[in-house]
Amino acid sequence: MNQFQYVRATKSQGAIDAVAKDPQAKFIAGGTNLVDLMKRGIMTPQKLVDINRLPLAKIERQDNGLRLGALALNSTVANDALVRQHQPLLALALNAGASPQLRNMATVGGNMLQRTRCSYFYDLTMPCNKREPGTGCGALEGINRMHAIFGASDKCIAVHPSDMSVALVALDATVLVSGSKGDRRIAFADFHRLPGDTPEKDTNLEAGELITAVDIPDGPFTKHVHYQKVRERASYAFALVSTAAALDLDGNTIKAARLAMGGVAHKPWRLTAAEQSLVGQPATEASFRRAAEVAMQGAKAFKHNAYKLKLGPNTIVQALRTAAAA
């Protein structure tokens, strides 16, 4: 690993300025992804601004919603009484990710900023437009069984690995950021990007912008929720496909629904059309299957990930079934 300068931020503004003015600087919080990437030479910041001591770890009620401080640990959020009461889907998604040790290190902000686990991104000797723009996409014609079926471009077919983000996009969360130009709010669905021609950019954050919190509005999704994650072993693995499902039921009739998928796109993939198809319908297998069909419209597979065209809808049905029965 290259040497770097290490500074500890005591105030947000100092941290923001330090990163904004230095393109070689990065924030570090939990470090669970950045340290990994630095060890492998995939990211080589010359300066790290440690933000762990900034007062951004609170979880609190705020304006008919929950506010999660960007530095709140994944384990803290998953176990938090307010989160479990108001947003149980988030707790389920968090606990489906990584391991207890990693959840004790990873933060809300860092989880959102995880980089793809694409094997070509992870190998310095292979082509990857995300890691090194212009070198091509190794996965496009390569071993792409873990890759996207939605929103991919011919420059990049990688997927975003976060579970937490799949729940947050379903729950209409908002990301609060601070930058040198001031504070702004970004709808969670607009936070991550599709690869297009610039896959090197994972998100719409600007240089030096610091995630300070995530707001989740209260909603009716406090009971009938489920996070279904399908992986190649029973735990501690990235998703082949996952689905966050939340239902608001009146008897057996669906009043409102939220659906999003992970492991299928460059960003957590919200399924609004499928949600719409569920509204007013009975919570039955047939409704779920129809929603899953709607959800898969426009999906496109590559050589090794055609199974996702079947596993995807099945996972949606299973998530909805379990949510309805919860």
Binding site: Q3, V7, S12, L48, S99
Partner: protein, 208 residues
């Protein structure tokens, strides 16, 4: 004078010295290499040593350490290579196996995935700090009794994780233990014995 008043730089002033001297190094690089290699190497050595290291205070297994470490040194490598606490194991170095599990301020974490400097002022417990003198921790006793290991390499991480699993209240059932111990891989496959050991400790009600 600090250009970044809201940042603490643990680096000492030698950083600026380094920055000045690095231009000397650049200039030297233009001279035919055999001429300068020896000189540069020596200069590099001194300058780099000063530049690389920052002060760090840690409490490890109850002992306070005042150290100077490179920021790029992970907590795991600090423990193993500098403090010679080799009970904490390196199994993957990427947070994918759990062999490096230690407690930081009482919470289990993967020591391979954080830089030691990030833990300034914190308290680290490793496997070497679990027993009270000659008296094994109940989890260590249970691992011996239930044969919760074979080669022994993942064992320190399993035990540190198991203690945390019980403390966190995640040892309520076999299934819960399995899920909350899944961050610790045992390639020898002693899993069911490890689960038995954890259940024994949990049911024994001893303080862990």
């Amino acid at each position: 004078m600090n250009a970044e008043p809201e940042l603490e730089s643990p680096h000492d002033d030698s950083r600026r010295t380094f920055l000045k001297q690095s231009s000397v190094l650049t200039a030297m690089a233009l001279v035919p290499s055999p001429v300068v290699t020896a000189a540069a190497a020596e200069l590099d050595e001194k300058v780099a040593a000063a530049f690389e290291k920052v002060p760090l205070s840690l409490k490890v297994n109850g002992t306070k350490h005042k150290l100077k470490v490179e920021p790029r040194t992970t907590l795991l490598d600090l423990l193993r290579e500098q403090l010679h606490l080799t009970g904490t194991k390196k199994g993957c170095d990427y947070g994918q196996c759990g062999a490096c599990t230690v407690h930081v301020d009482g919470q289990r974490v993967n020591s391979c995935l954080s830089f030691a400097v990030m833990h300034d002022g914190q308290e680290i417990t490793t496997i070497e700090g679990l027993a009270k003198g000659d008296e094994l921790h109940p989890m260590q006793e249970a691992f011996v009794k239930h044969d919760g290991f074979q080669c022994g390499y993942c064992t320190p991480g399993q035990i540190m994780s198991a203690v945390a699993c019980v403390r966190e209240g995640h040892a309520g059932s076999e299934g819960e233990i399995r899920e909350y111990m899944s961050g610790n891989i045992c390639r020898c496959g002693a899993y069911s014995n490890i689960v038995a050991a954890i259940q024994d400790v949990k049911q024994g009600g001893q303080k862990v």
